[in-house]
């Protein structure tokens, strides 16, 4: 029978079906960070269990880490205790740790692919909803809660109900300056933040196939924002070239590479494979997207007006009113007229080298608007190093940006980087929830190019016809 990419990975990892109707699924890679793991390790200790496969467990620190020059000495005692707990837990259990000060420290979803921990055809989990990022490689990757983190540590498996499959096909070619961030925001605008619940997306079509690996990671990263369990993209030559392009210590080599490659080539969905649901989006018609509200589904084309109370599918008039009030916006106004206070380029969605290159291209030879603050936060120390080797840091600094160290930074404000109440931010991150970037802060989600252009103009612009501020 013709199988989808998802079904092939699922079947390959099925330890057994259980009498209660769930399945015991084998987990190949487990990524761990400081926030969602301490209680899991504590649970193991209390029950006298050990980590079944420390060599398949990889750990870093990203959420709490300061991204300025104070990063090596966390001042907040509670953050410090959490980071130290991870150090102890990794040491006690023999788990790989890329901690603060390590050359490979960074956002967990940036370092996984960078280190070759993420390759096609795996099951990969992490106590973090943006684990869906890794699906860009054709690997089944999803976020789990802390109880499940403990379950994976103890058993290297998870008990799962088989999700449904949801094919999202992007036909045609993207317009210049429109990116994969705009594709995924457009999708969430159509289906809403619960549209994918219970499903695994498979992104496909001409516009997806022509994306680079890092652009693919951006789409899969936000699969969770559409409610989906995971997002998948079939591995192809782009995927294989990416893995080979750098020294990725955990990627298969030599004979193992040949075996793996042969397996990976069998992964794409078979012709005629059946999906539970299919949606087709014409990529050539996608405009740069900007979120206007407090949910990633509240998103519009940059040149469209802020919608009225009854104009947002899936949201009640009351919800829209609450969002408008929180965001300090009125129906009918243009987002291009709203003055920005901060521009944040970073997060597991858009902090990889290609994201920084795209932002740097817009900022090259220009200055940010005087009234705003521009932060550029690379996703990993390796990304930072690469950007500096290419001179991108000089472009950012000359434009008036703060060039930071790696971490989650202002995506979720668990560290010193946060918005003040009512500050308006153009952000390349993934969530515009109330208070996400700091209590009372107002987040607009955009692509790196849109964020960079907004930093120069001082407000949003349509990157497609922007003259560079000249």
């Amino acid at each position: 029978m013709a199988k989808t990419l998802f079904e092939k990975i699922w079947d390959r990892h099925l330890v057994r079906d259980l009498p209660d109707g769930t399945s015991l699924l084998y987990i190949d890679r487990h990524l761990v960070h400081e926030v969602t793991s301490p209680q899991a390790f504590e649970g193991l200790r209390l029950s006298g269990r050990s980590v079944r496969h420390p060599e398949l467990t990889f750990s870093t620190m990203d959420h709490n880490v300061p991204t300025d020059d104070s990063r090596l000495t966390i001042k907040d005692p509670i953050s410090k205790a959490q980071v130290e707990a991870l150090e102890t837990n990794c040491k006690d259990n023999g788990i790989h740790l890329y901690g603060i000060g390590d050359d490979h420290q960074g956002i967990v979803h940036v370092i996984g692919p960078e280190m070759g921990i993420t390759v096609p055809g795996l099951t990969l989990v992490c106590g973090d909803s943006h684990t869906s990022t890794h699906g860009a490689f054709g690997t089944l990757a999803f976020g789990i809660g802390t109880s499940e983190v403990e379950h994976v540590l103890a058993t290297q498996t998870l008990r799962q109900k088989k999700p449904k499959t949801f094919k999202v096909e992007f036909t045609g070619k993207l317009q210049p300056h429109v990116s994969s961030k705009d594709m995924v925001l457009k999708l969430i605008g159509i289906i809403g933040t619960a549209g994918g619940t219970g499903s695994v997306f498979e992104f496909c079509g001409e516009a997806v196939e022509s994306l680079t690996m890092e652009a693919r990671m951006t789409i899969c990263n936000m699969a969770i924002e559409g409610g989906a369990k995971a997002g998948l993209i079939a591995p192809d030559q782009t995927t294989f070239d990416y893995i080979l392009a750098e020294d990725r210590p955990f990627a298969p080599k030599g004979e193992a590479w040949d075996k793996a490659l042969a397996e990976w080539k069998k992964l794409p969905s078979d012709p005629g494979a059946v999906y539970d649901r299919t949606l087709v989006i014409d990529a050539s018609k996608i405009a740069p997207q900007v979120s206007w509200g407090t949910s990633p589904g509240m998103v519009i084309d940059v040149d469209a007006p802020v919608p009225g109370l009854n104009d947002v599918p899936g949201y009640s008039a009351g919800d829209v009113q609450k969002a408008l009030d929180y965001m300090g916006l009125e129906a009918g106004q243009k987002l291009t007229d709203s003055k920005l206070d901060i521009v944040f380029i970073g997060s597991c969605t858009n902090s990889r080298i290609e994201d920084l290159r795209r932002a740097a291209k817009v900022l090259d030879g220009k200055k940010k608007a005087d009234h705003l603050r521009l932060m550029v936060v690379p996703g990993s120390q390796q990304v930072r190093k690469q950007a500096e080797a290419e001179g991108l840091d000089k472009i950012f600094k000359a434009a008036g940006a703060e060039w930071r160290w790696a971490g989650c930074s202002m995506c979720l404000a668990m560290n010193p980087d946060k918005l003040s109440p009512q500050e308006r931010c153009a952000s390349t991150s993934n969530r515009n929830f109330e208070g996400r970037q700091g209590a009372g802060g107002r987040t607009h989600l955009v692509s790196p190019e849109m964020a960079a252009a907004a930093a120069v103009a001082g407000h949003f612009v349509d990157i497609r016809d922007w003259n560079g501020g000249n």
Binding site: Q39, I78, A81, Q82, G145, T197, D319, E434
Partner: protein
């Protein structure tokens, strides 16, 4: 995990859709390495004003809901971050049952709860009940109409009963595996480890480029 069989308590409303886990427990509380102490921080940004006093405009702060243990809300509750701290906060703030509506069917179906949140609830003894939108609307009206309204849940029978002027019962669907686990208070890890032999034999045949 503590078993859940039946529960009766005061029902409170939270009339908002798409309540995300950042709202249920904001990030500053995720720095704790303990599993307890999250209760007073549930819904923190809505619940308190800047000086730390209770926010009189937040409906769950009304005196009539002070002893609530069941919550009725709108669709897609618990979306966003996977943080189990959100469920710990609700459980430690006294919630045993959360009711939310599903809407539509087929491609238009919108569930009451986000996946990871619902799964996290099942590991912490919180029962998540999904009912049709018009039924949930009816429950909202009854809750608003009667101070101190009590409700009870019988998980075995899969019924929710509102104890208003007269009892009004609703049946709900429930995943059989989750139901069994909640009723017996089973520990997932202990259960899964009974299949250790299956895991070991699976590992023997799993590709070595995968097993590193």
């Amino acid at each position: 995990m503590e078993a859940f069989t039946t529960h009766r308590g005061i029902l409170a409303p939270l009339d908002r859709a798409n309540v995300d886990t950042d709202q249920i427990i904001p990030k500053q509380f995720l720095k704790s390495i303990a599993r307890t102490g999250f209760g007073p921080s549930a819904f923190f940004d809505w619940r308190y004003v800047l000086n730390g006093d209770p926010n009189p405009e937040f409906e769950l702060n009304e005196a009539r809901y002070a002893n609530r243990s069941l919550l009725v809300t709108r669709n897609n509750f618990g979306c966003g971050s996977s943080r189990e701290h959100a469920v710990w906060a609700l459980a430690q703030d006294g919630y045993k049952v959360i009711i939310a509506p599903f809407r539509g069917e087929g491609d238009d179906y919108i569930p009451g709860f986000a996946d990871i949140f619902k799964n996290n609830c099942s590991k912490n003894g919180i029962v998540t009940i999904e009912l049709a939108e018009d039924v949930v609307e009816q429950i909202f009206q009854i809750v608003y109409g009667q101070e101190g309204l009590e409700a009870s849940v019988d998980l075995e029978k899969q019924t929710l009963t509102l104890h208003g002027e007269e009892d009004l019962s609703f049946e709900f669907d429930y995943d059989a595996s989750v139901k069994n686990k909640l009723l017996k208070g089973l520990d997932d890890i202990e259960e899964s480890l009974t299949y250790l032999e299956d895991i070991e034999s699976f590992e023997k045949t799993h590709a070595t480029w995968i097993t590193l």
